[in-house]
Structures are given as structure tokens and as C-alpha cells.
């Protein structure tokens, strides 16, 4: 009997248990430890409820997130937009609104919101092409963010500085918008709808 065969014969239940425990332990470490190592969290300046605002406005998302005349998208609304409804004194009784009015609105200081969907600088994205020309809903890529009652934590990649929403919340890189906003999600949709996929369509 060779040494090799002896080793096989001696493999006991304890060996298998050790293997399973080790496998589970390191998989768990990979799945939960990697994101914790890779991503850092920044708080939003204060909480904001899209739901409350959507109840007040008449035109949905477009009421605040609108286009300029030249076709560019305003993105996060400016303080002037907030002032169309908000005044010097809070309208509700939430502590969040108090922070907004006292620390930002009265000082005319723009709120430095962290933008979940902000793409890397090499990406060109046209909101006009998607919502105006193709007639897509905002929710197609942003999910039900417009119905959310609070802002989830903003996480960013420690190495690249990009929002976690770009690689996606699944560490394996699975899923699509709004959980993941990578180039293949864009390309998949473009291919399905017969939209050109030359580099300069989405890159700059």
C-alpha cells in the first residue's frame, strides 16, 4: 500500500467537517468582508423624503429634476428650485426640515447631496435621449427612488471613489439598474432596442 492510498483511507468525518467549516467561513468572509473592506460610507447631509415631496408636486420627478433650455439635465435641483416652495421658516415639524432651513436655505448654501447614480468621468449619459427621445420612465434606471421615504446610506469604492451603485450592491456583479449601473446594463438595453452601440454613443 502506497502512502497516497493510506492518506485516502484515513480521511475521516472530522476531515470533511473541517473542509466544510473552512469553506463556509472563507466564503462568508469573502461575501461580507470584501464589501466592508472595499466600500466606505458617507452620510447624506440630512434625511430627505421623496415620497413627501412627490405628494406636493404636480408633475412628478420633472417638477424638480428638469431640463434646461439647451437640453442639458439639471440633476440635483438648485437652491432656487427649493425656494419655490420653501420659505425662511419650516413648513412641517420634522427635524430634517429644520436642518435644511437653518443650515442651508437661510445661508443660501447648496446642499452637497451624494449622488448614488453618478457615473465615472469617462461616461456620457444623456437624460434627454432617454426620457424625451426614447420615452423611458425615470424608474427604468432609478427604480422606486422617487417613492422612497428616506435616503439610504451612500457608499463609495475606496479605490476608485465611484458610488457603489455603479458596480452594484451584489459583490458578484449581478443584477441590473437600479441596483447596478454598469456598462453591460446599458449595452444590454441598447442591444434589445436596436440602439447604436458605437463607443462615442456613451463615452467621452
Amino acid at each position: 500500500m502506497t502512502t497516497h492510498e493510506q492518506g485516502q483511507a484515513k480521511r475521516s468525518h472530522a476531515d470533511w467537517l473541517l473542509f466544510v467549516v473552512g469553506f463556509v467561513l472563507f466564503s462568508a468572509l469573502g461575501f461580507w468582508g470584501t464589501p466592508a473592506l472595499l466600500y466606505a460610507e458617507k452620510p447624506q447631509p440630512f434625511q430627505f423624503s421623496h415620497k413627501v415631496h412627490m405628494e406636493q408636486v404636480s408633475e412628478g420627478c420633472k417638477s424638480c429634476h428638469s431640463f434646461r433650455e439647451d437640453g442639458s439635465f439639471t440633476g440635483i435641483p438648485s437652491m432656487d428650485k427649493c425656494k419655490e416652495c420653501h420659505s425662511d421658516s419650516p413648513q412641517g415639524d420634522t427635524p430634517e426640515e429644520k436642518i435644511f432651513v437653518e443650515q442651508y436655505l437661510n445661508k443660501n448654501k447648496p446642499v452637497d447631496w451624494r449622488v448614488y447614480a453618478k457615473q465615472p468621468p469617462c461616461v456620457f449619459f444623456s437624460h434627454a435621449a432617454h426620457t424625451e427621445n426614447a420615452g423611458l420612465d425615470c424608474a427604468k434606471c432609478h427604480g422606486d427612488h422617487g417613492k422612497s421615504e428616506s435616503l439610504r446610506p451612500y457608499q463609495y469604492n475606496r479605490l476608485t471613489g465611484y458610488s457603489r451603485d455603479i458596480w452594484g450592491w451584489n459583490i458578484l456583479g449581478l443584477g441590473g439598474p437600479p441596483k447596478r449601473m454598469k456598462m453591460d446594463s446599458c449595452a444590454d438595453c441598447h442591444r434589445e432596442n436596436g440602439v447604436r452601440d458605437a463607443c462615442f454613443v456613451c463615452h467621452k
Binding site: 444623456s126 463607443c199 462615442f200 463615452h203
Partner: protein, 269 residues
């Protein structure tokens, strides 16, 4: 062969006509281009082998002694070659990373620095020296990174970059057209160098649209292209009424006539 037939099918064929007789060599186009496209100033800009100028002004002269000396200036952006037998752009055909492609819709040769692996085959393939390699990270002096153009991604060390005909301006013009429901008009999409030229030597537009000034100028018998006989079939035309300037634009034999190529080139053969 008519101007439109020189290029393959596609909605636009953006191109340029540069009037060599109007160009004073001031370099305003170069400066406007650098500012528009986030091209920085390196530590040693006297090293012209390693400095980056998407739009470079070349000076030529007729080689005669004073007082017969004459000079002419050739502003040289990327010429956005299509090739004369189907789409065969010199730089695109050699890129192993597909970091550059020929857009069949606009006729613009793209360059995606984030995809570039820095092998520099394209730099060698380009007959016009229009491609530049980033030998260094641009040393933006403190604060100077702030007025960067957000519509153009800054590049890093180790990748190739080049003129894109200010493609971001086309994107911007399209956005406006999407909102108004109209079309991209001639003046909606103009490159930074065209706008900056104080003597109006540069005309930019769609060579496929007969109403665009550029299409009319490029069809003129005084228009010619650089190194036409290479078959690059590019989209940047030059115009001059001086025969010696035209002779310098390609390698002509002494008894050879100029202006024979444009008439016969293009399409499949």
C-alpha cells in the same frame, strides 16, 4: 466623383475645410482646443516629441530665398480618415483593444482612453501624427483642475488621445434637438477651433449635407487633402489658390500634376 460618394453610407459625414490662404498661423485654434478638451501643459513643453496638441499648426515654406520666400500654415486636427476601400481607418485597423472605432453614423473616429492599453500602434499607423501618447500625468497646478471641461474626460499617463471633432458638442447639440424635437442644425455643432479662428479659416459641418458651407467649399477645385494618394480618404480638406502649397501637401514627382486624386478616389474598388 461627387463629394458625398467618396464616403460610405451613414447619416452624417462631419468634416472640415481649412483655408490655408486665410490662416495666419496665430495658434488660436490650438489654444482653444487645449482648453476645450482638457489638454494640460506639461513640465517641459519644449519637448515637442512628448507634448500634446490635438490641433497642431505646421509651417511650410516654398524653399525660395528672400525676397521670393512665402510661408503657409497647416492647422492639423485628427483628419478622421475613412479609407478608400470600405471603412479602413489606419489607426482603427491596428488597435488591438478596440479603443478606437470609426462611427459609421457620423464618420468620426472615436478614441476611448479608458479602453486604451497604450501600445501606440495607432500612433505609428497614423500618417498625419494626429495621435498623441500621454508620457506623463498632466501636472495640473493647484486649482487648475477646477476649470476643466466636465464634458471631456481627462486622460491619464499611458494612454493615447486625439482630436474628436469636439464630439461632446455634437452630443450637446443632440440633447437640444431631442428637447425641441428638431434636428441638429449646422451652427448647433461647431468645433472649438472653428469658433476660435479669428480669420475664419476653418469651416466645419456635414460634408453630406449640400446646404452646409463645408460641403460647398470641399467640392471646390481648389480644395485638396493631405497625402491623398495614401488612400486615407479623410474628411479634413484644405484650400489654397497657391500651386506650390498644393504640391507640398503630397509627395509629387516634378512633372506630376496636382489635384488628380480627389476626383478618382472613394467608394469601393
Amino acid at each position: 466623383m461627387s463629394l458625398a460618394d467618396r464616403y460610405s453610407a451613414g447619416e452624417h459625414r462631419f468634416g472640415m475645410v481649412i483655408d490655408v490662404d486665410k490662416c495666419t498661423g496665430c495658434g488660436a485654434c490650438t489654444v482653444a482646443c487645449m482648453s476645450e478638451n482638457n489638454v494640460g501643459v506639461l513640465f517641459d513643453e519644449t519637448d515637442k516629441l512628448r507634448s500634446i496638441t490635438w490641433m497642431r499648426v505646421y509651417q511650410i515654406d516654398n524653399g525660395r530665398p528672400f525676397p521670393e520666400t512665402q510661408v503657409a500654415f497647416f492647422p492639423r486636427p485628427c483628419l478622421h480618415c475613412e479609407g478608400s476601400h470600405g471603412q479602413h481607418t489606419p489607426c482603427v485597423s491596428v488597435c488591438p483593444a478596440t479603443a478606437t472605432d470609426y462611427d459609421e453614423h457620423t464618420g468620426i473616429v472615436s478614441q476611448i482612453p479608458t479602453r486604451c492599453i497604450g501600445c501606440r500602434y495607432c500612433v505609428g499607423a497614423c500618417p498625419y501624427h494626429a495621435r498623441y501618447f500621454n508620457w506623463f500625468d498632466t501636472p495640473w497646478p493647484s486649482g487648475l483642475e477646477r476649470p476643466l471641461n466636465p464634458a471631456v474626460a481627462p486622460r491619464m499617463r499611458g494612454v493615447v488621445e486625439k482630436c474628436t471633432f469636439c464630439y461632446h458638442r455634437f452630443q450637446r447639440a443632440k440633447n437640444k434637438a431631442f428637447l425641441s424635437g428638431g434636428k441638429v442644425e449646422e451652427m448647433d455643432y461647431q468645433t472649438a477651433c472653428t469658433e476660435a479662428c479669428p480669420s475664419g479659416a476653418i469651416t466645419f459641418g456635414d460634408l453630406r449635407n449640400p446646404n452646409h458651407k463645408v460641403a460647398q467649399l470641399a467640392a471646390s477645385p481648389e480644395a485638396f487633402r493631405l497625402l491623398e494618394r495614401l488612400g486615407t480618404n479623410n474628411k479634413v480638406y484644405y484650400r489654397t489658390s497657391r500651386e506650390w502649397v498644393r504640391r507640398k501637401a503630397d509627395n509629387y514627382l516634378q512633372d506630376e500634376k496636382t489635384g488628380q486624386v480627389a476626383a478618382s478616389q472613394g467608394g469601393g474598388h
